[in-house]
């Protein structure tokens, strides 16, 4: 109810029946000032709404723990210990953040182009697979091979997304549908490669029982900065930050980025100014796939050091969620990815409290819903206020 009251308050302070939000208004300077004031007031409301709904997410999680005879008083401090309290655990957080951020950056590019690629989970897996292929089969191992492996990972992800683009622009198959279905095909392709010795299956005794690849030589592992008890992080994070900054700049400051955004925002206008939707759309999809594939490569060379069927381990889905929660803003995505990374790192310490690690997924899902709720609610209220104003205006 408080939300409703606040919204009607916002509507009341607007002096004239002109929508405060961007719209076809011919308002004078006075109206603009009043609208600005109303918006400033609503910023406080927005912050409060976020705080309340995030608090609700954690409260529900705590309630779940308490109801199942756990101790919330132990769970949350344990998660804090595992994610943020010391330099060592901060390292875990940062390691989790890197791949998420890379996936998110790619997702932002394709979503901005109006092509909703949701198949990152599969693209991560394929990227890790092609990366592993190069990292394990190209000799002699060394720095150049590492770079080559990361490039191969990006290429693998791009190829997998390229199938989506091909189906979209050749046969008109919806991107959402084909990218989703290809996730499950990718899982089986990876499984196939991992159970054939001539492809990726581990040689020797381990390969007989486990479905996994050989371990990467230390020469093709991503370098790390610092060592565990001290501040440490893998260079995957650097790749992620550079990539996020790059994409953030390209999307907001270059013609290419403008054209991509135009394609997503108004395809008709884009067509009229001569943008080739198929070509630019394919590029956007390839970039998003390449990012997801690169994230797979970073997972492989930076953390896992060998490829298993579950290497992507929800990084693709979570990266997509990061992008969507960040509302397709690369800069915001950096922060959101850090939050997700911290949650997952914190989950690693849950086992010490006797609470199943799966709680992390519950908390994460509730946090996402809590992050989605405020903007959605405000948008609905704003629309409702605008509509009632329009009705009032028509009556007058």
């Amino acid at each position: 109810m408080t939300g409703l009251d606040r919204a009607s308050g916002v509507a009341d302070v607007v002096p004239v029946p002109v929508p405060p939000a961007p719209g076809p208004s011919l308002s004078s300077a006075d109206d603009a000032r009043a609208a600005r004031a109303a918006r400033a007031r609503s910023v406080a409301g927005t912050v409060a709404l976020y705080v309340v709904s995030l608090a609700a997410a954690f409260a529900i999680s705590a309630l779940l723990v308490a109801l199942t005879h756990g101790s919330p008083a132990k769970v949350f401090p344990a998660m804090y210990r595992g994610s943020l309290r010391s330099f060592g655990s901060l390292g875990y957080t940062l390691d989790n953040t890197g791949p998420l951020m890379i996936v998110a950056v790619g997702a932002i590019v394709s979503t901005r182009a109006g092509l909703f690629n949701i198949g990152q989970e599969g693209q991560v897996a394929v990227g890790a697979m092609t990366g592993a292929f190069v990292a394990l089969k190209v000799h002699p191992a060394g720095g150049p091979v590492l770079v080559l492996a990361l490039l191969a990972a990006a290429a693998g992800g791009a190829i997998w997304a390229g199938i989506v683009a091909l189906l979209r622009f050749w046969r008109g198959v919806e991107v959402v549908i084909s990218s989703l279905l290809l996730v499950f095909v990718a899982e089986q392709v990876l499984f196939y490669a991992l159970s054939r010795t001539f492809l990726l299956k581990e040689h020797g005794a381990g390969g007989a029982t486990l479905t996994e690849s050989d371990q990467l030589s230390s020469k093709v592992q991503l370098p790390r900065f610092g060592t565990y008890p001290h501040f440490n992080f893998g260079s995957g994070l650097l790749i992620a930050v550079v990539l996020a900054a790059l994409v953030g700049l390209v999307m907001t400051r270059t013609t290419l980025g403008f054209r991509v955004r135009m394609l997503g925002h108004n395809p008709v206008a884009a067509k009229h100014v001569g943008i080739n939707a198929a070509r630019l759309g394919t590029v956007a999809l390839l970039v998003s796939g390449a990012c997801a594939g690169l994230a797979g490569g970073v997972l492989l060379t930076g953390q896992a050091y060998r490829i298993t069927p579950t290497i992507s381990n929800n990084v693709g889905w979570n990266g997509l969620l990061v992008a969507l929660v960040a509302r397709n803003n690369a800069w915001v995505a950096i922060g959101v990815a850090l939050g997700f990374g911290a949650l997952q790192a914190g989950g690693g310490f849950l086992s010490t409290t006797g609470v199943p690690t799966d709680l992390v997924n519950v908390i994460e899902a509730l946090v996402v819903l809590a992050a989605v709720f405020p903007p959605a609610l405000q948008e609905v209220l704003r629309r409702r206020a605008r509509r009632s104003q329009a009705v009032a205006g028509a009556a007058a």
């Binding site: 779940l64 189906l167 198959v173 089986q188 196939y192 889905w317 969507l324 799966d358 989605v372």
Partner: protein, 302 residues
Amino acid sequence: MSNDVTTILASAIRLSVPLGFAGVGEYIAERAGTLNISVEAMMLTGAYAGAVGSSVSHNAAAGFLWGMAAGLVVALIHANFSHRLQANTFVVGLTLNVLALGLTNYLLEKVSMTPRQVGVWKVPLLWHIPVIGKPLFAERWPAYLLIGIVPAAWWVMQRSRWGLEMRSVGENPKAADVTGIHVNKRRRQGLMICGVLSGLGGAYLSIAEVGTFNSNMTAGRGFIVIAAVIFGGWTLRGTLGGCFLFGGVDALRLALPALGYTINPELLIAAPYVIALLAMCFFAKGLRQPAALAQPFERGAT
């Protein structure tokens, strides 16, 4: 030989029935314009709640009500977020999948239960038909619900006013809105039906087919259901055909090695998705998706 056919057919039917329940629901939701990817969450929570419900109430049949209620709860969350608050349906769907998997795994470890299994119901006389009698007419009784649900769903969607409204909301929400149909309400209703039926399908998996609940029991069946709707070209007939085809492929995967054939399991697991993609690719004319599928609708927004 006929013994093998019976075995494979029986396993194909058993594996197809849960897909069928969820498939009917997903078909209805998609016709109303929601590409519902939380069907996996609905099935999984349905499976878990079914098991818990049968354990709590000492009654397997009551478990099905629990399963349906759990699916409905997931659907209510999804419906209100996507078709009331207009949050992106894929964000909500993906999140609900994460939530369902995390929550069921968490509760599975923390809450002990002794699920019941529903009984087999044999159709008199027909059950004795050689080869096909046993697979078709000796099923756990909830399977026979499908025989009622499918024609009911067809009649409602194709012959009732409500069904016409549902389809119009999926094809052209603006026009539907102008004629006075509450677009988002219809879409919410579609999701709710999908939730109930998917919960039923999930509960069938746990307390009819297996008799207990295992971690991540649905194992992507929700996505197979989505593939089935796509494969079926958004028709009820095609959807069910897809469900039984994919259930049959799954049965082959399980049965062929035991019968001494070597096959590629990865290919068979990936088959539903590949088949659905190929169908989309090559029968584009026949397989037309609802025009407003996965597009949110806001009143008064141009």
